[in-house]
């Protein structure tokens, strides 16, 4: 019972700011609303007893990524937090895409046979995470780092002005 209540509360903490992220016309507040969203997800991780992932979630997403987003906003907008327009001509198109995506997701969720019996948790899941990354998922792990490197180089190239 307590677990369900905690899940509900955490879901609300995650979802309500998530709505603000896409609806707020103040870009800084939108970016800022990402923080409670990430923290809510962190809470869900904690409920799943994945402390390590929870810690990393806060450290990377709530701590670093959002700070960087805010940093960029302040540099480009001169820190004024200008009101941006929320709607444009492509609203119907976007709505259609959203509905379709929601439909697909619901279908997938309902058709997947989720394992309900909990397995035995490793006592110390950092080791498990590390092993998984460097054995079963090593290819994905490496590809991800290459993608990050490429985006890093790309960002520098775009930001650079032709002198």
């Amino acid at each position: 019972m307590g677990e369900l209540a905690a899940f509900m509360i955490l879901s609300l903490v995650t979802l309500i700011p998530a709505v603000v992220v896409v609806t707020s016309s103040n870009i800084v507040r939108a970016a800022l609303s990402l923080v409670p969203t990430f923290l809510g997800v962190t809470g869900l991780y904690v409920m799943l007893q994945a402390e390590f992932v929870a810690g990393i979630q806060v450290l990377i997403y709530a701590g670093a990524i959002t700070v960087l987003i805010l940093f960029v906003i302040m540099l480009t907008e001169g820190g004024t937090g200008v009101r941006t327009r929320q709607l444009n001509d492509q609203v119907p198109l976007g709505a259609m895409a959203a509905v379709w995506l929601a439909f697909v997701l619901i279908v997938i969720f309902t058709r997947t046979g989720w394992p309900t019996a909990a397995g035995v948790l490793p006592a110390y899941n950092v080791v498990a995470v590390g092993n998984a990354f460097l054995s079963d998922y090593v290819l994905i792990f490496e590809v991800t780092s290459v993608v990050l490197l490429v985006s890093l180089v790309g960002a520098i190239v775009i930001a650079r002005r032709e002198d």
């Binding site: 540099l75 480009t76 001169g78 930001a159 650079r160 002005r161 002198d163």
Partner: protein
């Protein structure tokens, strides 16, 4: 490769912790980089030159004391009485000239100490400020016992000085010289050898030699840029001809060079004071000059080396008991010209370091 951001206009001052008074700088920033700096002066303008026309020659001593560079009151008095004495052909007794030289050099040390301290604060080294104040306090005490004033002395008179030195003053002064030379290495330990201090000052705010000359910079600012010009050597007054001292010159032209030049100047000042104390003759301290003296008709230009540089006064007399016109050449004003030149391309933090290294006093700039 350079990444640019949107330009940001920043008003530094007139109320700002480290613009050394009411200087306003309109700084255009690209991120943290300075694109342009426009100093805006005049907030402390008190029309000293005009006020001087309404005061007698004697009263003006008290005016230049506080109306101009308030950190080196003796230097202001000196240039004023020097101009008057030259125009009126007033003789100054030997003893008075020695006393004046001692006072001027003490004033130079005290002014440089304030500069050293505030420069330290500008760079975030607060301790240096309070240490400098400790030394300066000894000079203040010396001034106070001789002149009665700590900042504003009104001590020099046309034809001499107001009063003779009190008993034991020369001993205390000699004692201070020893004490001060002992203390100076402490600043080397605290600042000169400090890697952070070096990183903040070396190569920062370079003023090339020809630019320094073209902009009329003088004093330690010019000497740090390789201009070997010191009024005390070039146009000697008082007894500077007779004492031995060196004029420190550096060629780098950066903040660190200005720092080193001033530090060395303090050592040389001690050297001058010691020689003066040794050779201090007895006799009169003031020749007879009427209280409301009328200087003969004519004009004269007197220049001295104030702690900030070439301080000059152009004086026109029409024969009345007060000057007809006075024009002051303020060293801080001329040195401030170099500001924009030095700052372009540096960071926000360097604005303060470079401004601090010029050593401006706003009441000298604005007058």
């Amino acid at each position: 490769m350079a990444l640019h951001t949107e330009e940001l206009m920043l008003n530094m001052g007139p109320q700002h912790p480290s613009t050394h008074g009411v200087l306003r700088m309109v700084v255009t920033l690209d991120g943290e980089n300075i694109v342009d700096v426009q100093p805006d002066i005049g907030y402390l303008h008190s029309s000293v030159e005009k006020m001087m026309e309404n005061r007698t020659y004697l009263q003006n001593i008290a005016l230049v004391d506080r109306g101009m560079d308030y950190l080196s009151a003796m230097a202001n008095e000196e240039v004023w009485v020097l101009a008057c004495e030259r125009l009126g052909k007033i003789e100054v007794p030997e003893r008075a000239r020695y006393i004046r030289t001692i006072m001027l050099e003490l004033q130079r040390i005290s002014s440089h100490l304030i500069w050293l301290g505030t420069f330290g604060i500008d760079l975030g080294a607060f301790t240096a400020f309070l240490w400098a104040m400790r030394e300066r306090e000894r000079i203040m005490d010396l001034f106070e016992s001789a002149t009665g004033g700590r900042l504003h002395h009104v001590y020099f008179r046309l034809g001499g000085v107001f009063d003779d030195l009190p008993e034991g003053w020369t001993d205390r002064c000699a004692e201070f010289c020893d004490y001060f030379l002992d203390r100076l290495p402490e600043y080397d330990e605290l600042l000169t050898g400090n890697p952070i201090f070096l990183a903040r000052t070396q190569g920062v705010g370079v003023l090339p030699r020809d630019t320094a000359i073209a902009l009329g910079a003088s004093g330690p600012v010019a000497r740090a840029s390789g201009v070997a010009y010191d009024v005390r050597k070039a146009h000697p007054y008082e007894i500077y001809e007779r004492v031995e001292f060196e004029v420190p010159v550096r060629t780098e032209g950066d903040c660190f060079a200005r720092y080193l030049v001033r530090l060395e100047e303090m050592r040389q000042s001690v050297r001058i004071i010691r020689q003066c104390l040794e050779g201090l003759p007895g006799g009169e301290i003031r020749s007879k000059v009427a209280v409301t003296v009328r200087l003969p008709k004519g004009e004269v230009y007197a220049r001295t080396e104030s702690p900030r540089g070439d301080l000059g006064i152009f004086l026109i007399s029409d024969g009345a008991d007060r000057p007809y016109r006075v024009k002051i050449r303020a060293p801080a004003f001329s040195n401030l010209y170099a500001l924009t030149e030095m700052m372009r391309g540096w960071k926000v933090a360097d604005v303060i370091a470079i401004l601090g290294s010029i050593d401006i006093v706003l009441s000298d700039v604005d007058r």
